[in-house]
Structures are given as C-alpha cells and as structure tokens.
Symmetry: none
Subunit: 202 residues, 4 copies
Amino acid sequence: MANSKKQTVKQQKIIQTAIELFAEKGYANTSTAEIAKQAEVAEGTIFKHYGTKDRLLLSIIVPYLKEIFPSMADEVIGEIMGRNIATFDEFLEGFFTNRIQFFNENKEIFQVLVKEFIYNQELRNELFPYFSENVLLRFGKIFDHFQERGELENIPRERVMKMLFTFIGGFFVSRFVILTDYTITEEEIDDAVRFVMNGLRG
Amino acid sequence: MANSKKQTVKQQKIIQTAIELFAEKGYANTSTAEIAKQAEVAEGTIFKHYGTKDRLLLSIIVPYLKEIFPSMADEVIGEIMGRNIATFDEFLEGFFTNRIQFFNENKEIFQVLVKEFIYNQELRNELFPYFSENVLLRFGKIFDHFQERGELENIPRERVMKMLFTFIGGFFVSRFVILTDYTITEEEIDDAVRFVMNGLRG
Amino acid sequence: MANSKKQTVKQQKIIQTAIELFAEKGYANTSTAEIAKQAEVAEGTIFKHYGTKDRLLLSIIVPYLKEIFPSMADEVIGEIMGRNIATFDEFLEGFFTNRIQFFNENKEIFQVLVKEFIYNQELRNELFPYFSENVLLRFGKIFDHFQERGELENIPRERVMKMLFTFIGGFFVSRFVILTDYTITEEEIDDAVRFVMNGLRG
Amino acid sequence: MANSKKQTVKQQKIIQTAIELFAEKGYANTSTAEIAKQAEVAEGTIFKHYGTKDRLLLSIIVPYLKEIFPSMADEVIGEIMGRNIATFDEFLEGFFTNRIQFFNENKEIFQVLVKEFIYNQELRNELFPYFSENVLLRFGKIFDHFQERGELENIPRERVMKMLFTFIGGFFVSRFVILTDYTITEEEIDDAVRFVMNGLRG
DNA sequence: AATGAATGAGACTTCATTCAT
DNA sequence: TATGAATGAAGTCTCATTCAT
C-alpha cells in the first residue's frame, strides 16, 4: 500500500491493526488501548507517532485518498481510455472491473473511509474538496470525451451524471461496506453496466 | 409521529432530543449527559425510562421500523397500487414522491437509522430480518403484480431488483444522509424514474 | 470559609483537600487522583463538580479573591479607618495585625494563591485586574485620606507606594509561604510598622 | 556565564533552552520533549548527559548558587567594601546597582531559582544551607563592619536585618520574577536606598 | 557523543449507570 | 415520576526514561 516514508515495523502494525478495527467496529467504537494490544505495541507508541487518535485516522484515510486514489484513477483513465476503449460501455465495464478489484484488495480501508464519511460530518466537510476535485472532475472529462466522439449525445450532462453517481455509490457501498461477505460476479458487472447504459441513454 | 403509549412530556423531550443529536453526531458520539442537558431533564430520568443508552436508541429505531414504516409501506402499496396505478412508471413515481415526502418529514430519524445501520454491525444483523421481510418481500410482490399485468417481462427478477435497490438505496442515502441540505426537485424525480425504468427494461 | 451556594459534603472535602495539597506541593505537582483519594471521593466526582483540574484551582482562588478579600478589606478600611484611627502608624499596625490574623486562619489558601501567582504567568495575567482594582486602588484611597489629614505630606505618592508594597509583599510572602512554620510576634509587627513609617517619611 | 568544564555544544544548547523554558513556564510545566525539540537535540541526549530531569534542574541551579553567586558576592563585598565605600548608604546603592545589573544579565536563571525555591519545598530545604551560609552570613559581616565604623549603632541587628531582607527579597522578586518587563530606574534605586536607610535608622 | 523509537506508569477527563431522596 | 450527586471503569493523552543502533 506504500504509506510512503520510512515507517517502522511497529508503525506498520499500528496502521494495519487500526484499519482492521476501524473497519470492523468504527472509529468511535475502537479504543487506542485495543489497537495497542492487538498490534502488540505500547499505547504510548501510538501517540508518539500519531499524536492523537484523530490523526491516526487521518494517517489512514488521507494517503488513501490523496496519493493512491487519484494515481490509480489516472491509470484507469489514461491507460484504458487512451487506447483501445471505443465506447462508454467498454469504459464502464473497465471501470467497474478495475475498481472492484481495487476495493477487494483494500476492502477494509474503503470501509473505514465510507463509514466515517457517513458518520462524521466534520470529516465529510474536510474530504469533500478532494472528492469533487478528483472524482467528479475526472468523470466529467471522461463524459466530455465520449460526447465528443458522438456517444451519449443530447443528454443533460449534470443531471445524468447525478444518476450515474447515485448508482455507482450505492453499488460500491452496498457491496463492500454493508454486505461485507458479498461476492460480485462477472454477470453482475454486466447487469450493472447495462442498467447504467440504458439509464443514461434514456 | 405517534410514538404512542402514555409518554410523559419529559419522555417526549428525551426522544426528540436524542433523535436530533444521534442524527447530527451519531449514537457513539452523543453522551447521555448531553441529551439530558439539551432535553432539560435530569440524567437519571433517561435511565428511569429507558434503562440503558442502548435501549434508548432502540426506542427510537424499532417503532420507526416496526410500526410506522411497514404501515406506511402498506399504505403505499395498498392505496396506490390497488386503484389507479396502471404502469410501473407510475408506481415508481408515486413511490419516490411518497417516500421523499415521508423522509423529509422524518429526516433526522432516517439519518439515525442509516448511520447506525452502516456503522454498527450488531444493529445491522438485528435489523436485517425486518428489512428483508418488509422491504424486499413487499417489493417482490409489487414486481410480480406488474409482471402479471404484462409489464417488465422477460426480466430476471432477482438480478434486476438488485440493481433497482442499489439505485434506490444510493438515492435516499445520498440525498437525505450525506447531502443534508439537498432539495429534490420534481425534475429530479422524473430523471430518477426514467433512469430506473430504462435500466430495468434494458 | 463560606464558598457560598449549597455545597455537598463531598464538594467541601474536595476543596479542602485540594487546598491542602496545592499548598503543600503546588498545583502542578498534585494529581487529581491524589486529591480524590485523600478526600475519600471518586475521581469522577471532582470532574462532575469542577469540570477540569484548572477550574478546581479557580474554584479555590477566585472566591478567595473576589468575595472574601475585598469584603474583609472593606472591613479593614471602613471599620478601622472610619473611627478611631488617627494616624497612619495606627492604621498600619491595624492592617498588619488584621491581615496576619486573617492569613493565619487561611494560611494554606494564601500559599496556593501566592505560589500559583508566581509560578503561572497566565493565572497572573488573569488575576492582575482584581489585584490592582482592589488592593492598589483601596490603598491609594487610604493614602489620600491620611494626606488630607496632613500626614505623609510632600511625598511622591506613586513612588513611595511602590516601596510600601514591596515591603508588605515581601513580608507576607516570606512569613506565610516560604517560612511556613514562622511565628510573627507583636514585637515584629512593631518593627515592621516602624521600618515602613520611617521609610515613608524619608 | 562560564558553566565551565568541557561542555559540548549540544549540552550548552540544552542548558540554555532549559533555563528559558523553566523560567517561562516552571520546571513542572516543561517537558523534556519540549526542551529537546527547542534545543534541536534528541531527547535521549538530555538523558545521556543529565540522567534525570531533576538533575538537569540542579545542573542549572547549583552552579549558579555554588560558584557564581558567592564569587560575585565576594566581589561585591571585597572590591566595593574594601576601598572607597564609607557609609552604609553608599554600600546599599552599590549593592542594588550591582545586583540589578547582575540579575538583568541573568534574569531567566534567577526566575528559575526563585520560582522553584518557592514552589518546591524539597528544593527549598536543600538550598537553605547555601542561602544562610552565603547570603545571611556575609550580610552579617557587612553589618558588623559598618557598626564598627560607628554607623547603624544601637540597632538590634537580628531584628533589623529581617526587615532589610524582607524588603530586598520583595524588591528583587517583584521586579525580576513577577513584573518581568519592568525596568528599574536610577531614581527608584535612590528611593529604595532611602526607604531602607530611614527604616533601619528608625 | 548522539539518536529516536519504544515504553508503561500515570495524568486528566468522559461516560453510562446507580441510588438515596 | 423525577432528580442529581456520586461512582469507577475506561478513554485519550503525556511524560520521563531506556536502549539498540
């Protein structure tokens, strides 16, 4: 996951354990004592490195959002969109497949992010800029790209993108946060792409 | 809201205040002391009536789910479906309109429900039976009804209903829990219905 | 000591114990756990009543300064100055005698006040207004009073009052805070009065 | 200041920083972490050199009292008293002028000394011997000297010296520890000398 | 000589809950 | 029914100190 900068072994264990526990029980219901115990570390060590419990949470969420998410997104966009992707259908399928794989590999950290995003209004306000800047903006560009190619014409972009995000958000949150043991099949990806494409085309 | 059964004035204030605070900051981040103070009630009074903080939460959620939600749902189904609704389009529009109005009137309690449902695994496990029994089952019946009438034919019910719920869930959670100041226009309801209908018809 | 308002027995014990320990070891070197133990009270009880350790300190100091000190001072001034006191000598002797008795009865709280006043810059800044308003101002009036009567004439009031306060401050701090077991004799009061009077008359 | 003996640069920075912080906030309210950070030194380095925080404090105070203070005092006494000083007035003026300059140059270390002396009973007990040995004893000799010369006759030495120290203590503590930004004028030195001389002659 | 990661005891504080009134 | 003083377990955080490098 590359949390950058020389992390000690203990730090890695702290972060890893915190992710697991925050994902399972939520930030507010996880005590630093519990993290320390499970990470086999003194409680003081947590605070030496992260200062406050709050900053520990941000140490998990911010790199995930700030470094990893956009870079992966660019990868998705650049690599996939640049070359062989001709239609929005194909793009969507690539997007779902790619993101599903990514979230499967980082299920817990995604759960932390979503749970706290929904639970904690302050955090939500802090994260919103990242969100709109990275996600909304990029998606907008992709939309433009395909519209220039002649696809998705005559569609009120803003209104339709809302529907798209509503579905995508519901999809990932329900599958990865609520139904934690759910397995997404290829068939379901097809269903989702078709549902969205038909919805958009109107 | 009819929380019925000889509630004292103090009890009503406690419940009302608890809903407000739980909605705003979440159950885990709200102390009974804070509720007591804002409800202008002694802390002991809360525990005289509800025993534990946990039971106070359930005193809010359970009636909402158990009594009010299903009864309203039946109303939706019975009243609306029984008579003049001919098409699934019409049903959907009625459903959205009706639920939007309902959640607008009970925004905070809906926020409490969703937040805790997502945050608290134990609560989720407890509530799931209600959910599938009332929501999924009823919707299934409605689906059957319209299929019998010749609509939505040749559609794999289970798979398509998943997509439907994904969108509906995303719609209400994003509009009422995440974007707390959002206002839904009639135009947007139309967009949503069209998006869903097209998606389903595929 | 009349800390006004219905105090519970536990509150009184907390305050009393806190005064003793703060006087002995200083605020910063006294833990709330220690206070709780010696006051035979749960640690939580301290925080129920005073919120923070800091407010506990202020609950000791402020009433002492705000209510008791000025009222006693007025007593000194009014009672003593109004009637039978003809000379500044007599006033000073009355003042020393009265204050020595007072501080003997409240030795520990005086120690707390002085120690924290000297140790803690922030507290000093907060208390300075009270100090100058009550002590300096009143003393100024007394000075004026005696100057109008023809005593202490031709003396630059401000400069000489500085010397007076320097001595008085040194006197009470050294005798009540530093040399905690010291006993002040009547002879020493005479010495002090004479020292000051000669000093002032120049 | 000549803290002599092969001190490394880091040691000097530690001592200097500790003096600054102890003076400002007091020993008890200053953490070794804070000292280390401000001195741009690792926390371990402090403990390599001084073993405990307590010994760091003593490393500041003891040399100041043990080596510098007396030697300077001797200088005052020998140099000044030996030669051209004829009267106690002159001596006092020399003393005030000399000490004011000295404390101005070492304001912070003097603040540390006074604050901890007043705050910390144990330290006070440890330092008392030095104090009476060096300060009281020397002053006694000076007193004798002037009495032999015919000045300050018929004065009960012990009782009057108490008054003298009371004033001097009050003077330096108030000007250098409490009113940290205060500037002492020559005029005020004159006032002080006159006040004391008149007081003593009584 | 110097570092800084790690510690664990203990500090202040919060909180759900109890109970006498 | 209602109060609010009291509790003590548990929470977050601080700190002097140790030790391997």
